[in-house]
Symmetry: C2
Subunit: 181 residues, 2 copies
């Protein structure tokens, strides 16, 4: 099984970092096949920023993501740009306060959660990315939340470890809330 | 103009980090078009580790690296794996103490330097990656050494900034030595 993921948002929201953490968790901690890509330049300018991660049980022959199975959007612009390519019956995860997802295709499963507001509540808006990863892990099974927790230290300065682990735990809880709803 | 680069070596030599630094320097600091990719899993196991970086003045339409213009190898296994794909008249940069590049194709330009030995001399074997980036920058012009220096802090813990900047300076000097030879 192969899952194609796009993590998107505005510059400064840490989506490239989120992609690196997800890739490390799936590829290094869990030993899955992973290809992770980020673009800088035309694609990245104008506010939108994205990282793609492919996670697979077998060798990844085609390393590009054309139609993601899973799309995370933390900004309206990223939503406008990437949403049209989301696969049939794909999963869309958005920040409910930053993205207006009206009139979304009826085949899409939409999960809207207050990542950034929750991140502000624990005092660091910047960890909304890690929180969203926790939710994505719970909802998709693409990686275990414990693997994300294990991957965090290698990608973050030590002073940010506690807040990132807290954000991850909140994200996992938000995801479990969706599952049990 | 587009330049395709593969940074390769063994796990633990920091090639994925080197790719991230190069991408940040070219894409964020210099505002060029950049696509950076790393793979974990079958491709990454068995000792070999690699990161690919595409740097271009215009939009990157095909984001895969099949035949690099520039190949950095810090291990024999990486050399054995990636060397056959190096483009005609491509540039091969190797660690002279870790890679045996006998019988290399006559069209290839080979630059063999003691990155790891020099990194050990300044007390941190792990900065051979940053040193090699400095040499690569001087020899190829793909990015300015100053842009690498500017990109380092966002990718390394603060305690490693001085040693990384020193390694970068040594790499630049090694590169200039090659140019003037």
């Amino acid at each position: 099984m192969r899952q194609d993921i796009i993590l998107s948002g505005a510059g400064g929201q840490g989506l490239i970092l989120a992609g690196a953490i997800l890739a490390e968790a799936a590829g290094v901690v869990e030993g899955k096949e992973v290809v992770q890509t980020q673009a800088y330049g035309i694609q990245a300018r104008g506010g939108a920023s994205q990282s793609t991660v492919i996670v697979s049980d077998s060798r990844i022959k085609f390393p590009e993501v054309l139609e993601p199975d899973i799309l995370l959007c933390l900004s309206q612009e990223a939503y406008n740009r990437y949403m049209p390519n989301l696969k049939q019956r794909g999963l869309l995860i958005i920040d409910q306060d930053l993205v207006n997802a009206e009139n979304v295709r009826p085949d899409i499963r939409v999960v809207a959660l207050p990542f950034t507001a929750e991140a502000e509540r624990i005092n660091r808006r910047i960890v909304a990315n890690v929180m969203a990863l926790g939710t994505l892990a719970v909802l998709t099974g693409v990686v275990k939340p414990e693997s994300l927790a294990q991957a965090l230290p290698s990608r973050l300065p030590e002073r940010n470890w506690p807040i990132a682990q807290e954000a991850l735990a909140v994200g996992v809880k938000l995801g479990k809330g969706v599952l049990s709803a």
